[in-house]
């Protein structure tokens, strides 16, 4: 994922939809958008990723009623556990519109961390988090929302792993493809959602302060979870 390619894509969207200038750059913790007024916004790509936007619509539109529990999972090869946890905790806050108020974690503090959390609105949740996949393995994740009326998920029933749009079998082996964005076709998923996040901030500048705050909060919570995994003491925020 090159910053140059992402900024080219951002320029394309800015020109097409007539929004102001901004540049994607690497920040200390995550990609940031450098705004023309000198401010910087932490980018939270999961907040614009379409599957999560649709899950949020399902919640906000009352398709599900009486949300009880979030069951999240994410497994990566050689991922940064702290950042992985932060993204999932922020996702819970984003989907619910409520902050994480308490958590407990168990794990080795490096490759595995399983978290049980509670949100300020009373919703319960858990995160299965591991960076123990082998190098060549794809990222695996699952996000399930369980409510009194209905369950929603980004994984189809009766499957354990993400599905793909295209499967190719030929003499080179098996290949899979899942393309999600025609306007940004050719970029990786990670790059697409980073560019979309930057574009979201440019389109709605008030997001910058909100995301900066959310990014800091979720990193603090993730660090607390990793500490808790070693201490065994629940953390209340």
């Amino acid at each position: 994922m090159t910053i140059k390619a992402m900024n080219s894509a951002l320029d394309f969207l800015r020109d097409k939809y007539g929004v102001g200038p901004g540049v994607i750059a690497e920040g200390p913790e995550c990609f940031q958008l450098h705004l023309s007024d000198g401010n910087k916004a932490d980018l939270l790509p999961h907040r614009v990723e379409r599957r999560f936007v649709e899950l949020k619509k399902i919640i906000d539109g009352k398709t599900l009623e009486g949300i009880s529990t979030f069951r999240f999972a994410v497994f990566r090869p050689h991922g940064d556990l702290r950042k992985m946890l932060a993204a999932e905790l922020d996702l819970a806050a984003f989907l619910s519109g409520s902050e994480v108020s308490r958590l407990f974690a168990a794990g080795d503090g490096q490759r595995v961390c399983n978290v049980i959390f509670r949100l300020a609105n009373g919703v319960s949740g858990c995160i299965e988090c591991s960076s123990g996949l082998p190098t060549a393995a794809p990222v695996l994740d699952r996000h399930e929302i369980i409510a009194r009326r209905g369950v929603a998920s980004d994984r189809v029933v009766d499957t354990q792993v993400p599905q793909h749009s295209i499967y190719v079998w030929n003499e080179d082996g098996t290949a899979t493809y899942t393309d999600v964005d025609t306007e940004l076709f050719g970029l990786s998923d990670e790059a697409i959602w980073t560019v979309r996040a930057a574009f979201a901030v440019l389109s709605q500048p008030s997001l910058a302060a909100c995301w900066n705050q959310a990014a800091q909060a979720s990193l603090r919570q993730a660090e607390a979870a990793l500490d808790c995994a070693l201490s065994g003491t629940p953390v209340t925020f």
Binding site: K16, Y17, G18, R50, R51, E54, L55, K57, I58, K62, T63, L64, E65, A147, R149, G150, V151, A152, S153, D154, R155, V156, V157, P162, Q163, H164, S165, I166, Y167, V168, W169, N170, E171, A175, Y177, T178, D179, V180, D181, T182, E183, F185
Partner: protein, 358 residues
């Protein structure tokens, strides 16, 4: 670039509502007016609160908005010729729904009208702007499978007739009342008329045209319909590629007057899946998946919530590019004529009980 002043006309086609967001958001467009077919269509349009004025008379709309440069003809198939003529005579660019007409004499008259007027006429085949189809086309073009031997494809949906009644009326959908076959009480104009995409897609993937087609209808899932809702088609392309298509309305629906959540009975209301066998390998492709899923309101049924697909953005981008830069759309009337011929051949095959050579 100066935004294209655009309008919509008809407002009775199933795809009408899919344009609203793009027409409002794309800075290369200025959506200035709509013109509904009748009061009923105007009432439905009002539900979406676009803020764009709606008329009931096209001449009145143009009188109020004389600077309209392009019109989306979002209407029943049997209204397209008259509306195209209206636009072409005024030098207005046209975005037509997926079936301009099944009457080939009328089709040729459309080509003549458009050529004479020198306007852009793009046919709405939105699958071309789907990211999965884009990848599929790239894989085939890059030779991932070698020479294509066979294409199987579904283009299956629920039936839209309860919300868009013209799709169940042979004269409105097919253009005339033609019996499916001797002794069959049904008429042309059903599911096949709704599903040209796979007939078009195979032409792009193979670079070939249809050589022969055999089609067969099944007993209707909705016996009260006058038109077919279940059929299959098989045949060969001019390069020898074999195909098998299912363009049915094989997914049941709630009989809603206006499409809304809970429309589907089967979890996935629309599917375009393609399986391709080539000399070097094989692929399977789901053009509308994966998605997110739920079993919540309104009916507590397991439901696919479509997630990634914004075909109308790319479609409108191409239309604007063609207007401003004097280009021919990829799906233009002349290109699309062979697709319509093949679909007509399917109906001929049903009537005659044999394969039809094209």
């Amino acid at each position: 670039m100066k935004p294209v002043k655009i309008a919509m006309m008809g407002m009775t086609h199933g795809h009408t509502r899919k344009y609203y967001q793009t027409l409002l958001e794309n800075k290369k467009l200025d959506w200035v007016a709509a013109c509904a077919e009748d009061e009923e269509a105007k009432k439905v349009y009002a539900l979406y609160n676009t803020g764009v004025p709606c008329y009931l008379d096209a001449a009145a709309m143009l009188a109020e908005h004389p600077d309209i440069e392009a019109i989306v003809l979002a209407s029943a198939n049997n209204r397209h010729f008259e509306q195209m003529k209206f636009c072409a005579e005024r030098g207005i660019h046209i975005l037509s729904m997926k079936i301009p007409t099944f009457d080939m004499a009328e089709y040729d008259a459309m080509i003549e009208l458009v050529d004479k007027a020198g306007v852009v006429c793009q046919i709405e085949l939105e699958m071309h702007y789907n990211p999965v189809v884009k990848r599929l086309q790239k894989l085939i073009a890059d030779g991932a499978l070698g020479k294509i031997l066979s294409v199987q494809a579904t283009n299956i949906t629920l039936s839209p007739v309860w919300a868009f009644p013209w799709q169940g009326v042979p004269e409105d959908s097919y253009g005339s009342r033609v019996p499916l076959a001797s002794g069959d009480h049904r008429f042309r104009g059903g599911a096949l008329c709704d599903h040209p995409h796979i007939f078009d897609l195979i032409r792009w993937l193979t670079g070939a045209d249809f050589a022969s087609v055999f089609a067969q209808v099944a007993p209707n899932l909705r016996p009260e319909l006058e038109v077919e809702d279940m059929l299959l088609a098989a045949g060969k392309m001019t390069d020898g590629t074999a195909f098998l298509f299912d363009p049915s309305w094989s997914r049941m629906e709630e009989r809603l007057k206006v499409p809304a959540p809970g429309w589907e009975v089967f979890p996935k209301r629309m599917e375009v899946n393609v399986t391709i066998t080539g000399e070097k390998g094989m692929l399977q492709c789901d053009c509308f998946g994966p998605n997110v899923y739920h079993n919540g309101a309104p009916n507590d049924r397991y439901t696919v919530q479509y997630t990634y697909f914004d075909e109308w953005i790319g479609l409108i981008d191409e239309f604007v590019d063609c207007i401003r830069n004097h280009k021919q759309p990829r799906i233009n009337l002349k290109w699309h004529r062979h697709t319509i011929e093949a679909m007509n051949a399917c109906y001929d095959s049903v009537a005659e009980g044999k394969a039809i050579a094209l």
